[in-house]
């Protein structure tokens, strides 16, 4: 594993101060599982990365652990995708900063179930 996805490996930048409110859109099945309607708003401390957002999401909604990232490896599940600002961020490093528009709350971070039959 080249990039740390797990909460234990995530390191907040020491210069980042305060919390930011991030908007997250869950796929329908995970909204049902977490018993939420519409967007989720999360306070994320430190640098706003995909890893930090998912850590905050799983801390608030523990029932989502293992449904987006593998429990053991922390890797994104194969049929889950991460989008924001019209970009597919699924293959971006988990510790890379998310776009400013996501960090500022102007745009949501989208967790998407890949299109597949069944």
């Amino acid at each position: 594993m080249s990039e740390p996805w797990s909460a234990d490996a995530a390191m907040s930048e020491p210069w980042s101060a305060g919390e930011r409110e991030i908007r997250v859109v869950l796929p329908a099945h995970l909204r049902t599982l977490a018993q939420v309607n519409g967007e989720v708003r999360l306070d994320v401390a430190g640098q706003v990365t995909q890893c930090a957002v998912l850590d905050a999401l799983e801390a608030r909604y523990p029932m989502l652990r293992g449904t987006i990232r593998d429990h053991r490896t922390g890797r994104r599940r194969a049929f889950v995708r991460f989008f924001a600002c019209q970009q597919d961020l699924s293959h971006e490093p988990p510790q890379a900063p998310l776009p400013d528009a996501v960090a500022s709350g102007a745009e949501p971070y989208l967790i998407v179930g890949a299109m597949a039959g069944g």
Binding site: H29, T67, A114
Partner: protein, 371 residues
């Protein structure tokens, strides 16, 4: 008279079917967890309102749901199934080593005397236990760690641990069955295991005395006679009279001895039920006739049960966990099909009626006889 609750897992959700003891009028609740595959739902014998459900999805993985009110409401509990230590490898279809990878929970077996203790049989084959109502799961590694483990291979449906039987008269004794490794027994509450497959003959295994490699589809036991086991193997219906030490075939006059479920009458330990399926390449009943076969002699002599079941143009399958019995005086038998029907018989199989006809494909059926 006791009420009946039938717990149905399907490809697209769970359903709870309820009736009084007459079993004539049914209330249907569901779908619970719509859109998710529900491999199994089972109630605790120690607390009839405590239910466990295995919910899974190709997108979002495994979730375990628990109800403390008989299925009226549910809450997710723990879903982390981590193999003990370094998982190692089993054999892949091509004979190469393949890492053990958790895929899903096939079967949940609650303890007979503690509502918070429940066992989970998973794919890739392993046995887990929770003692806190499903919040945390720990593997019982002695099964997967048996010296034969690296030689186990998956069946066509994956390498699943699908059967868990807890011997009510001997608390340390348990049975587990794996496709396609075979049957295993523990006499020390799951710490150590050994294969119990002597007498099984499996086409495709060159060694007629192979210790493992048998595609066992289901095992059933009557609680009053725990040394007698019945098995539906890939092909062959088998019986053991010595707690699995040896098996002999009891297919007798069945039209085909391929099938998936097998179950035992609640009050007659020698009365057993199977659903013959044409073959492993034709997963539907022979001649388009859906027939349950009953033996009142513990095997060998079988009679077809057809009244109320479709006897033409029927090409559904009945999966391994999709048959169950209630414990009313007139024993009820239930089974679900891949066509979405759940059939019930309130007279031990003599006559059948559908409770529902159009559910998603049925993966599992369990019954609770409510006190």
């Amino acid at each position: 008279m006791s009420d009946i609750r039938v717990l149905v897992g399907t490809r697209k959700g769970a359903f709870v079917l309820s009736s009084d003891g007459k079993r004539e009028k049914w209330e249907v609740s569901g779908p619970h967890f719509p859109g998710w595959e529900i491999y199994h739902v089972k109630g605790s014998p120690a607390d009839q309102d405590r239910l466990y459900a295995s919910q899974s999805s190709g997108w979002f993985g495994q979730v375990i749901q628990r109800s403390d009110d008989g299925g009226a409401s549910w809450a997710p509990v723990g879903n982390e199934f981590s193999y003990d230590g370094t998982p190692g490898t089993h054999q892949w279809y091509d004979g190469t080593p393949h890492p053990w990878e958790f895929a899903r929970v096939w079967h949940l077996e609650p303890s007979p005397d503690d509502p918070d203790t429940v066992y989970a049989g998973v794919e890739d084959a392993g046995l887990f236990r929770s003692t806190d109502g499903g919040q945390h799961w720990r593997e019982l590694p002695g099964l997967r760690g048996h010296r034969s483990g690296p030689s186990w291979q998956p069946g066509a449906g994956g390498m699943c641990l699908h059967t868990i039987i807890l011997d009510p008269s001997s608390p340390g004794r348990m049975f587990a069955a794996i496709s396609a490794a075979g049957a295993f027994r523990s006499d020390d509450a799951g710490q150590t295991w050994r294969p119990v497959n002597h007498g099984l003959q499996s086409e495709g295994i060159p060694d007629p005395d192979a210790e493992v490699g048998h595609c066992v589809h289901r095992i059933a036991m009557h609680p009053s006679r725990p040394s007698v086991l019945y098995m539906q193997k890939h092909w062959d219906v088998m019986r053991s009279d010595d707690a699995g030490e040896s098996w002999h075939e009891v297919s007798g006059n069945l039209p085909t001895d391929f099938g998936f479920p097998i179950d035992v009458h609640a009050h007659e330990p020698e009365t057993i039920y199977v659903v013959p399926i044409t073959s492993d390449s034709h997963h539907f009943p022979p001649e388009g006739k859906l027939r349950v076969y009953r033996s009142r002699t513990g095997g060998d002599e079988w009679e077809p049960l057809t009244r109320g079941l479709p006897q033409e143009h029927c090409y559904v399958n009945v999966l391994r966990d999709a048959m169950a019995v209630d414990s009313l005086d007139d024993c009820g038998i239930y089974f679900g099909t891949t066509g979405g029907q759940v059939y019930a018989s309130a007279d031990a199989g003599d006559t059948w009626e559908p409770i529902v006809r159009d559910l998603p494909a049925v993966l599992s059926v369990e019954v609770q006889t409510l006190r």
